[in-house]
């Protein structure tokens, strides 16, 4: 039904999508998988003419006898023949119109015959939601509304761009199951290979603008990059190791000749660096095989002293009247990594902020390194806070873009007034965080680094103050899948090497199972289950944990 042939998308002459050919059959679900910057979103948006004016599309994309790559007038096509559930659809609904009116608009515009209630029913929502405004719905419900809007025009092809990003794990599964059940031709664009694979009839993997692999459901993955993506997805089974693909994808226009993946591929041989492998039999690779990727080392239980103890923590956000924490106890010992797992609204971020002394708990005590943190203010609080390192979720916003790496990492030393040679300490911190221990690196700006490198700079900055406790708040969630395990490996080496106590906050139970010694599962401000990672993964006691582990 949709046949893409040799399609390229160039921005100012630099190819983001490079000669990609891909078919979507009638009623077929094709997953287009890749990491950020691989060109998957450019390809998807080119199909609907949604690229900015600076983009140039070549090749063809035949939908029936209509070449989408040449189209300039999209009336009667967009929303009617081909519809999209855009990226971040949850925040893309009109805030001032009711759900019913928004669906009505789509039906009128695109000549849909269904009634609004029927459409909502099709996406698994009751007709009572027609009179709601989007802000009254949960993220998952809004995603369903966005899908209903796309279905209104009865398109023959649906493009879903990252339809699960930003949703909780359980809701993600529900949304994917919904999409798979619709029975229309679909191109689902996502970074999450493991989640999509069971639902897709075919999986196409993109890397640096090129199609690496295109295989039907059930066929074994063969491309080293695909295998890398799979090992980089943390399994909830501890017997399956969690690996990472070292390095990062080339920035736009800086891909070298030959196989794009060769610089990161453990199997690459000479021809890989010179000759671009053509897509033959659904695979673009000179040397398919099973590459060995570095994996997160298994931990040995430690018996250090308590680095931080939180007792009876309660917190109520008084303005909103939300009880975020309802009596939580947590102890972190030196040398161990404790996973704090929960979905959005579970209170995990509030708990992390309380441990950092950023907010005062309504009740309860926080003891860090043997000294009480709660009740301290001003300078006394700041002195104790220096013993806690913090790595923020967003490596793009948490580093000042105008400061060089050297200055960023040295900041805790400057703040503490540490005398002596700071550069040596900075270099040591960089090395501990897995970054090049070079003077040249100190002069770089965050803008010149990849996401993984930035997050490592953030870790190095936290380490420079020589903390006893490190709090990593969703430190991997904004990174590319292939580099996440690398961060976890670094945290592990810090825990076992320096006896650092680490709190690893995450919404992904798989990551916690793989990276942590002990796991604490939070839900609605209460601990529903806690215990050693191996036990919890093997035999979850609470139904909620079981649901997360599915």
């Amino acid at each position: 039904m949709l046949s893409i042939t040799g399609m390229s998308v160039c921005y100012d002459g630099l190819p983001a999508v490079d000669r990609v050919s891909l078919d979507v059959g009638d009623g077929e679900i094709v997953a287009l998988v890749g990491e950020s910057g691989c060109g998957k979103t450019s390809l998807a948006r080119a199909l609907l003419g949604l690229l900015p004016g600076s983009a140039e599309v070549t090749g063809s994309a035949m939908l029936g006898d209509d070449d989408l790559a040449r189209r300039t007038d999209w009336a009667g096509v967009r929303g009617r023949k081909i519809a999209i559930v855009p990226q971040g659809a949850m925040t893309g609904l009109s805030p001032v119109h009711k759900v019913g009116a928004q669906i009505e608009e789509m039906l009128t515009l695109h000549g849909g015959r269904a009634r609004p209630g029927e459409l909502l029913d099709r996406v698994g929502l009751g007709a009572e939601h027609l009179t709601c405004h989007p802000h009254e719905l949960s993220g998952g419900q809004r995603q369903r509304v966005a899908i209903a809007l796309a279905l209104a025009g009865e398109p023959s092809l649906l493009v879903a761009d990252e339809p699960t990003t930003g949703l909780d794990a359980i809701v993600q599964r529900q949304v994917l199951a919904l999409l798979a059940s619709l029975g229309i031709g679909m191109l689902i664009v996502s970074h999450d290979l493991a989640a999509l694979a069971p639902h897709a009839d075919r999986v196409a993997v993109m890397y640096a603008g090129r199609l690496a692999e295109d295989r039907p459901k059930g066929a074994p993955p063969r491309h080293p990059y695909t295998l890398g993506l799979l090992t980089a997805t943390p399994a909830t089974d501890r017997s399956i190791p969690w690996g990472s693909v070292p390095g990062s994808a080339p920035p736009l226009g800086q891909a070298r000749p030959g196989c794009r993946f060769a610089p990161r591929c453990p199997l690459a041989l000479d021809p890989c660096h010179d000759v671009d492998p053509p897509l033959v039999d659904g695979l673009a690779c000179h040397h398919p095989g099973a590459p060995v990727y570095p994996v997160v080392p298994r931990s040995t239980p430690s018996a250090g002293t308590a680095a931080a103890t939180l007792t009876g923590i309660r917190h109520t956000y008084r303005r909103r009247g939300v009880q975020a924490l309802k009596g939580v106890d947590l102890e972190v010992r030196s040398g161990e990594i404790v996973g704090l797992v929960g979905e959005s609204g579970s209170g995990k971020s509030t708990l992390a902020r309380i441990a950092l002394g950023l907010i005062k708990p309504t009740a309860g005590r926080v003891v860090v390194d043997g000294e009480e943190l709660t009740g301290r203010t001003g300078k006394a609080l700041r002195l104790l806070q220096r013993r806690i390192g913090f790595v923020h979720q967003d490596p793009y916003d948490s580093l000042h873009p105008g400061m060089r790496v050297g200055a960023l990492v040295a900041e805790p030393l400057v703040v503490a007034g540490t005398p002596g040679d700071r550069e040596e300490k900075v270099l040591a911190a960089l090395e501990a965080a897995g970054l090049p221990c070079e003077r040249e690196f100190l002069r770089r700006f965050p803008g010149q680094l990849s996401g993984g490198q930035r997050q490592r700079v953030s870790i190095a900055r936290a380490l420079a103050g020589e903390p006893v406790l490190l709090i990593a708040d969703e430190a991997t969630s904004m990174l590319d899948v292939s580099t996440r395990a690398g961060i976890a490996t670094t945290l592990r080496s810090l825990a076992s090497g320096r006896g650092l106590a680490v709190v690893f906050v995450t919404h992904d139970l798989g990551e916690a199972v793989q990276a942590c010694d002990r796991i604490v599962v939070l839900r609605s401000g209460e601990i529903v289950e806690h215990g050693p990672a191996a036990d919890l993964a093997a035999a979850p006691a609470h139904p909620y944990t079981q649901e997360l582990l599915k």
């Binding site: 855009p86 609904l93 805030p95 001032v96 966005a146």
Partner: protein, 304 residues
């Protein structure tokens, strides 16, 4: 309920300032009672007697208590300069000001918002750049200068329009024009930037991706969210202007609140100043209250 208390607190603090600020000005109302030479011949006792008689010689807390009682019993006292009740003076001036300000704010608002939307939609074309440049120039024009220019051209040289006073429609033309021209830029720039933000926001981009045609996209998806902040600034602007435009009313000798306030300040006429400030305070607070109360009607997210 909480809102009402907050507004109450604002009014009380404003009342206190309205009372204190006039008295903090250098000089005093004594100069109303004669030339400096005549005043200098008065003895201390005579001065004190005058001050006592007209109420400005007593201790401040006592005066403030009187003032508060006056405000709540709607007795604003008597003007020191001409002996008229303050309420009467304000009552005469207020309708003129409301006429002037009302007319100009309606025109400014409609023109400014319409051009602002247009400026945002045409931002990449010549017309948009021209509008933007003109708006910035207009926004930085001093009102008194433009007013005097208009008087010279239309009143003196062409002699087609009255240049002072009020009474007929023709009297309104020049002051309204001045207010509109100098106020237009603000509304234009505000609307334009708000519209630009909304046009690139996710809801509008996504509606575009769903195949909503351009005209409908602008009218139905962009306009209302873009006008939400404009609604607030329009109401606040009305509040400020309702206190009278001191500069415009003085330049055109227009018998409104602005000129009354100007006269009261020059003469250190405490009761009249307090009265004029009271009107301004109440207008600003009332307009804020209206903005607060009507905003949820436009934005469902602000509803409880």
């Amino acid at each position: 309920m909480r809102r009402i208390l907050e507004y109450g607190a604002v009014v009380v603090i404003a009342l206190l300032l309205n009372f204190l600020l006039p008295r903090a000005l250098p000089g005093g109302p004594m100069k109303l009672f004669g030339s400096p030479e005549a005043l200098s011949r008065l003895t201390e006792a005579e001065r004190a007697q005058i001050a006592q008689q007209y109420g400005f010689g007593r201790p401040l807390p006592e005066q403030f208590a009187d003032y508060l009682t006056g405000v709540f019993t709607l007795d604003l006292g008597t003007s020191l300069s001409d002996g008229r009740p303050v309420a009467e003076a304000i009552g005469e001036a207020l309708p003129w000001t409301l006429l002037l300000v009302g007319t100009s704010i309606v025109i400014t608002c409609v023109l400014g918002v319409a051009l602002g939307v247009l400026g945002a939609l045409r931002r990449r074309r010549g017309g948009g750049a021209g509008l933007l440049g003109t708006a910035i120039v207009l926004d930085s024009l001093p009102a008194f200068w433009l007013g005097m220019l208009l008087i010279v051209v239309f009143g003196v040289q062409l002699n087609v329009l009255p240049t002072y006073g009020a009474g007929t429609l023709a009297h309104l033309v020049l002051p309204v024009t001045t207010l509109v021209v100098t106020g237009l830029g603000y509304f234009f720039l505000y609307t334009r930037s708000s519209m630009l933000t909304v046009l690139t926001s996710e809801p509008v981009q996504h509606a575009h991706a769903r195949g909503v045609p351009y005209g409908r996209l602008v009218r139905r998806h962009a306009l209302r969210p873009a006008l939400l902040p404009v609604h607030t600034i329009v109401l606040m602007e009305i509040g400020f202007l309702a206190g009278g435009s001191i500069v415009i009313e003085t330049v055109f000798a227009y018998p409104g609140l602005g000129r009354l306030t100007f006269g009261a300040i020059s003469a250190r006429d405490y009761p009249l100043m307090q009265g004029a400030f009271l009107v301004l305070t109440l207008m600003v607070v009332a307009m804020n209250a209206i903005a607060d109360a009507t905003y949820p009607l436009l934005d469902p997210r602000a509803r409880q």
